[in-house]
């Protein structure tokens, strides 16, 4: 099923994105390149202190630092998992972490170099728990790369 030499794998840590990781490794030719774009959705995590007003600034700072550490740890675990799978298949693996709006980051990165294929996960089915943040929106129609959307793991 190998079909591409240069794949852009886009994910932002959801369950659906993890299914896309496996597919990207499967679709990439031996010796090929997988560029892993991980987006940390800015608006989602920025809003996590919500309308708290009772706490002192130090408590809010502690919380922000803690949340950043958590997200960074999760991103590292994510990268390690894909890197290991890529190494096992002798693929060249590069990674990029961006804090921003998922669709905007995806479009920008897809234009940076010529990719044969973009692989990404599908939105979470209704009723399945998980973070609600989508990469696939109307604006991603302007992507100029052949795209594979991988079904959600349980589908």
């Amino acid at each position: 099923m190998e079909s591409a030499n240069n794949i852009l794998l886009a994910s932002h840590g959801t369950e659906g994105a993890q299914a896309a990781e496996q597919m990207a490794i499967e679709l990439c030719n031996k010796g090929g390149h997988v560029h892993h774009l991980i987006v940390v959705p800015k608006r989602l995590w920025e809003g996590m202190t919500g309308d708290d007003w009772l706490n002192n600034g130090s408590t809010r700072d502690t919380f922000r630092r803690y949340l950043e550490d958590q997200l960074s740890q999760e991103v590292q675990e994510h990268q390690a998992r894909v890197s290991e799978a890529a190494k096992a298949k002798d693929l060249n693996y590069t990674t990029e972490v961006i804090v921003g709006e998922p669709e905007e980051c995806l479009i920008n990165t897809s234009k940076k170099e010529v990719f044969d294929l973009l692989v990404m996960g599908s939105p979470r089915p209704k009723g399945v728990a998980g973070l609600k943040s989508r990469m696939l929106t109307d604006s991603t129609r302007s992507l100029g790369v052949p795209t594979v959307i991988v079904p959600y793991p349980d589908e």
């Binding site: 803690y66 973070l131 609600k132």
Partner: protein, 524 residues
Amino acid sequence: MVYTKKSPALLIIGIVLLAIWYLAQSGMMNGYLEHLAMGKKYKMMSELTTLPLYFGVISAVLGAWQLFGSHKEGHFDYYSSTIAGGMFILLIAMLVRWFVAPEVAVVSHAMGKVGETGKYIHKLLGLNYVVLGILAGIIVVNVFKVPEWAQNGVRLSRLGLKTGVILLGTLYSAAELKNLGGLSIVMIGFFVLGSVGMTLWIGARRNIPNSMGGVLSAGMGVCGVSATVAAAPVVQAKSVEIAYTIGTILLWGVGCMFVFPIVGHLFGMSYIQFGAWAGTGILNSAQVAGAALAFQPDGIETLKVAEIFNITRVLVLPIIVLWLAVWYVRREEGAAQVNVGEVIFNKFPVFVLGFILLFALSTTGIFAPANHYKGKYFNNTTDFKESKLLKAEDKATLQSELGKVEREDRKAALGRLIENGKVMSIDDDDVLRGLVNSKVLSKDANHILKHAHKAVRHTAKKVKAFRHWIVWLFAFGLTGLGMQITVASMKQAGGQPAVIGGIVGATKAILSLVVVLMLISDKV
């Protein structure tokens, strides 16, 4: 890094404010204001012809300096960068208070009363300037995004609310604070411990991780998002657990802000009853203030009660965080040990000291004469002008409606008013104000009761000024907090936290309603 942006935004805000002032001052706006007042006198004319001038001049001068001046790194630069955002919130709060809220009332009147409720839809939903200000903030952040030049200043909303609470300290009598404090300790103690325990218990039954149970119980039990922010690092919550919890609390809180005032009016609750219920039953502290001001937009008695409950909650917070920390360490291997002193010191709400300080100052009579709280004109016939006594036709109106009143305390207070032609005690005054708010009587009768209240309650000038500032500080703070409620975070409500949060939140709201209705009267 230089934070002050060379943007024309602050200058433009200044020009807009000055234009509003000019239009109001010159009378060019009279036609529109008459339309907003619906045949009555436009109530906020004095604000409209002063505040935009003061803040317009400040904004225009500072805006010109920010745009054309040079700026260097440093503390001053950071503080300067917050001005534009602060003025942005203020402008929105002003527009909502002076124009949007009255316009909503006009549209609501045009739509007619809702079914058999006999109320207009804006009254039913509590769509006043405070709630609409929060909604305007939510719309700004989610539809347009907070502009970059305003982002530092939006954080000033917290300062606004904390200053509002500190100033509230000037408005309590010692007896009031003692009684409300006692009531809030009992209510908050019972419901906080109950809901934290209930969340942990249900969480264990549903096999959720300890970290999720810990963070969820703090949010559900103590003060919503603030408690989640304080407890998450201590129980080592995962990012997705934090997102679930905060999403659930925000969604629930915003919903409660609309539902609580409707229920409060349906049950004819007094200010004290509603303040106590909102202060206990609403999960998130920001929406407690919002609901209190939605319930009583033309006064701050309900807010005074609700904020005592908020203060009690935040004082309980370090204790609950410690409890959860110990609970988590016992259950999770490798969890970091807790430094008790550090938790208490870091989490202690410093602004509460400001509240206590101003309360202490007010008891010395520095802001109002001692007889302000005793009520100089109650029971006192020598100082009371005879012209202010109820007229025979007023007494007849009240007498004809006495049958509508069911509660004995209200009936007795109304009876004494009819008999003596004036309100006879502070307790009677509190009960009768509750009766007005419950809207059991006709408009005419309520009008007479409001006059009777004014005849005996003379507010000291400084206290009046504090009330005015408090209302503005809360309007400013809540509008700014609205700008920090993102739909992206609310959308995360789901999974087990939504189920557990729904059960615990509903139980807490219903049980506290029952307790308040059964045990709390119109006065403290």
